[in-house]
Symmetry: C2
Subunit: 181 residues, 2 copies
């Protein structure tokens, strides 16, 4: 009997399963979209028994939420060049680059689909980051303007016109934000 803490097994086989499943989820989400990823599918590609996945995560949504790591972690350092426009450009570029990965785009689609039911905004971190950048610079630019003029067009393209996510997009959107149209 363990008196200190409930015994957990984190290494060896468990770690291998976790790793294999994580990679399989990322691949499949990118290939088929969040909705069309099932646990038996993931298990097969990971070379793991479906039961193991069911026992650990319960259902596909929980699994994807847990594993599909947003490469844009909330803890990552934000650009801080001293120039708001430069900061916003780099920040927007990060976001565009991120969503060019099919898996990331698929996750955004899933987030959009779920936004109605779970009232959770999967882009709230981006909004928080915009707030930091804007308030730090004490500029006339508002957060809502950043959302409308930079984030919204990026999101629109990711969802409906992903082939228009080109290298100049981030810079030109931020330019428009400052220039006015």
């Amino acid at each position: 009997m363990s008196t200190t803490s409930p015994l957990r097994r984190t290494g060896g086989r468990s770690a291998a399963v976790l790793s294999a499943v994580r990679q399989a989820v990322e691949e499949l989400v990118g290939e088929r979209g969040v909705e069309r990823v099932t646990i038996p599918m993931v298990a097969e590609r990971a070379g793991v028994n479906p039961t193991s996945v069911y026992r650990r995560w319960g259902d596909a949504a929980t699994m994807i939420n847990d594993l599909a790591t947003y490469r844009l972690s909330p803890d990552r350092p934000l650009p801080d060049t001293g120039d708001l426009r430069e900061d916003l450009t780099r920040w927007a570029q990060e976001i565009v680059d991120h969503f060019r990965a099919p898996a990331a785009a698929a996750l955004l689609r899933g987030g959009a689909a779920a936004a109605g039911t779970g009232s959770s905004d999967c882009l709230r971190h981006r909004r928080a980051e915009a707030t930091v950048l804007v308030e730090r610079a004490a500029s006339a630019i508002t957060v809502d303007e950043v959302i409308d003029l930079v984030i919204a067009p990026i999101v629109y393209r990711v969802l409906f016109r992903p082939w228009t996510l080109d290298d100049e997009l981030a810079a030109s959107l931020v330019e428009r934000l400052f220039r006015g149209r």
Copy 2:
């Protein structure tokens, strides 16, 4: 044998099925969220045989995307006041009003979710409409600007912040389009 064109049946029973399915999908997507709507479910509520739905659309994602695409009738008359700004404002207002209905918002979520699998854009009619308005006026405003500055912010709000779809939104977005920020 029809020599002119492949015979299609659009009226009568087919139209009734389409209408019933459309209403059922809107209701169910609004109630349960896009991911949890299945074809047998839709068929039952529509009073239609599931086979008919499978034969017409193939799968749930295609069906939802198709219905989301046509929800705002392509045949409806566009505003034509002689003033581009006024036309765009009324047009944007129509769209905002439309998406304030929870069922319409839910369908857009479905369209966004399904946009990945097929390369279909359920907002392509809105883009076509914008093209008509802009080209008719021979203005300096481009279609892409209308999409980025008017449609994208509306879509972003519908998906992630639906409570911000207020009465002034359409007018203020169009104003920004003309004024430059």
